[in-house]
């Protein structure tokens, strides 16, 4: 017997898109609170200018006192501020001082100066390097990669800029596919024409420009496996959208690219994650950024992302059988409790309720649990129905 095909018009998602489009023209710049540090995304010339100014200041101090020091915003947890209005994690204005002449900071400052030298070389030559490559430029000095990584982050914050502006990038894990055309220098890349694998998000995002799209929403997917289902069904052909996955927690390039898509195309963004606390955490990182990179939050966070699913309440609504549901483990319970203590969850009642429901019913489930109703259930029923009815958090 032929399967009955229901047609969904994605009414609710389209309404949200129209709302964003109307707002888009009057969108104001995000005003950061006064007690936070302002970070700029700089082009190569401006990044170089800022680097020269910093070095000029050090030379001035050497000439005047012979004992130079550098001040930079502290990245300790006590200096991380949640900006309620913009729903972002930001860096406060506490400063730390690194002196060139004390035994405690001499090694640190040497590494920092070496990183500045590397940044200078990369900017002058208009090259990019990965964090791993930077570590290998001076293994003896850095000893291990986490040491050079810390110095790289310190150098970026010292220049009051994003790490990408320093041309030091992390390897990107994200993939993107769908109704989007981008430019990488003089190459035009059609994200609909790259087979099921899609486009590997480039860590060199300063070379990437969005040039055309007829998408109406973006879906950020937790898992590669779920992404494969969408890719195989060519989901974006029926429902005009852009799909993106980082295969877990969003890395810097994936989050930055998502932010740009959302900002430049005014598209609503939905996340599809496992119905478990880790999935909710992944959503939260897209939403408001991570604590470690709080200074880059305005460039990495997508504060209006919606949690589309899989919600705990969906498990009953979509009749997910008991055998496909899992019990919470100790670590899950702790994570849920931690999330419930976060201000941004407390402020979102529907989210709070869904997490509490998970605790009460001692249940979690993977996105793949939906395939108990058939492989196409996710793409042909679950998502279109939710996007039509506006069933998201």
């Amino acid at each position: 017997m032929a399967k009955k095909q229901i047609s969904y018009d994605l009414k609710a998602a389209k309404e949200l898109f129209n709302e964003y489009l109307n707002k888009g023209t009057e969108k104001k710049q995000v005003q950061l609170p006064e007690n936070t540090v302002k970070i700029d995304d700089l082009n190569r010339k401006n990044a170089l200018d800022r680097l020269y100014k910093l070095i000029d200041d050090v030379i001035d101090q050497i000439n005047k006192t012979g004992r130079p020091s550098i001040q930079l915003p502290s990245r300790s947890s006590s200096n991380i501020i949640w900006d309620e209005e913009n729903d972002l994690l930001l860096l406060g204005q506490q400063l730390q001082e690194k002196q060139f002449h004390t035994l405690t900071s001499v090694a640190d400052i040497t590494r920092l100066m070496r990183i500045l030298e590397i940044i200078h070389e990369l900017l002058v030559k208009d090259l990019h390097a990965t964090k791993r490559e930077v570590y290998y430029t001076d293994v003896k000095l850095f000893n291990e990669q986490k040491v050079s990584d810390k110095s790289i982050e310190d150098a970026a914050i010292m220049l009051y800029t994003t790490r990408n502006s320093t041309h030091i990038v992390a390897t990107a894990n994200g993939t993107c596919i769908g109704r989007l055309r981008i430019r990488d220098k003089t190459d035009i890349i059609d994200l609909e024409g790259l087979g099921s694998g899609g486009w590997r998000i480039s860590p060199f995002l300063d070379n990437i420009e969005i040039i055309e799209s007829d998408a109406e929403f973006i879906l950020a997917i937790e898992k590669e496996a779920a992404m494969m289902r969408f890719a195989e069904d060519r989901f974006w052909r029926k429902y005009p959208c852009i799909l993106l996955t980082a295969g877990g927690v969003g890395d810097i390039a994936t989050r930055m690219f998502l932010k740009r898509l959302n900002k430049e195309l005014n598209l609503p963004v939905f996340s599809l994650v496992d119905s478990d606390p880790y999935g909710h955490y992944i959503h939260s990182v897209y939403l408001r950024g991570s604590k470690r990179l709080s200074y880059e939050s305005p460039f990495l966070a997508t504060p209006d992302i919606k949690l589309l699913g899989v919600l705990t309440r969906d498990l009953d609504k979509y009749k997910i059988p008991e055998v496909a549901r899992l019990k919470l483990e100790k670590v899950d319970v702790k994570r849920i409790k931690d999330l419930l203590n976060e201000e941004f969850v407390k402020r979102n009642k529907a989210w709070e309720e869904d997490l509490k429901l998970s605790l009460k019913e001692n249940v979690k489930a993977e996105i793949q649990a939906l395939s108990t109703h058939g492989f196409e259930f996710l793409t042909e029923k679950y998502l279109p129905e939710k996007l039509t009815t506006g069933d998201w958090i």
Partner: protein, 129 residues
């Protein structure tokens, strides 16, 4: 982005002119040709197609052609030659993208500078092939 609305409620977004003005000399031609050949018909909306066509012409007439005209009709021969070599390379793989400057190239074939005239001729051959 610049918006174009379809009758079915769909929206097509294309990069705005201000950003295109910052591109390298050949990029606007590549972009216009790409949208014309690969996207325009796929929108399946006559009104949007017509508006986008108009916008693509605007890109050519307001940015792309004046920028290259200024170089090709200028007196800096080194700059003319390096620009021609960029377009010669482009014409080998994407000759349709170079068509909008056909008239300018034809004028250059009459130039007294043999190098410039010969390079312009090579591009014209690629366009006509």
């Amino acid at each position: 982005m610049k918006f174009f609305y379809k009758d079915d409620g769909g929206v097509i977004q294309l990069i705005e002119l201000e950003k295109i003005q910052e591109w390298s000399i050949e990029m606007p031609f590549i972009f216009v040709e790409y949208i014309r050949s690969n996207k325009l018909r796929s929108y399946r909306d006559a009104k949007a197609e017509a508006e986008i066509s108009k916008y693509l012409n605007e890109i050519l007439n307001k940015t792309a052609i004046p920028k290259i005209k200024q170089i090709l009709e200028g007196s800096n021969q080194g700059e003319i030659l390096s620009t021609l070599s960029i377009f010669e390379e482009l014409s080998e793989t994407n000759s349709r993208a170079v068509m909008p400057i056909q008239n300018l190239l034809e004028n250059l074939t009459k130039q007294t500078d043999k190098k410039i005239a010969s390079q312009a001729r090579k591009i014209l051959v690629n366009i006509k092939e």
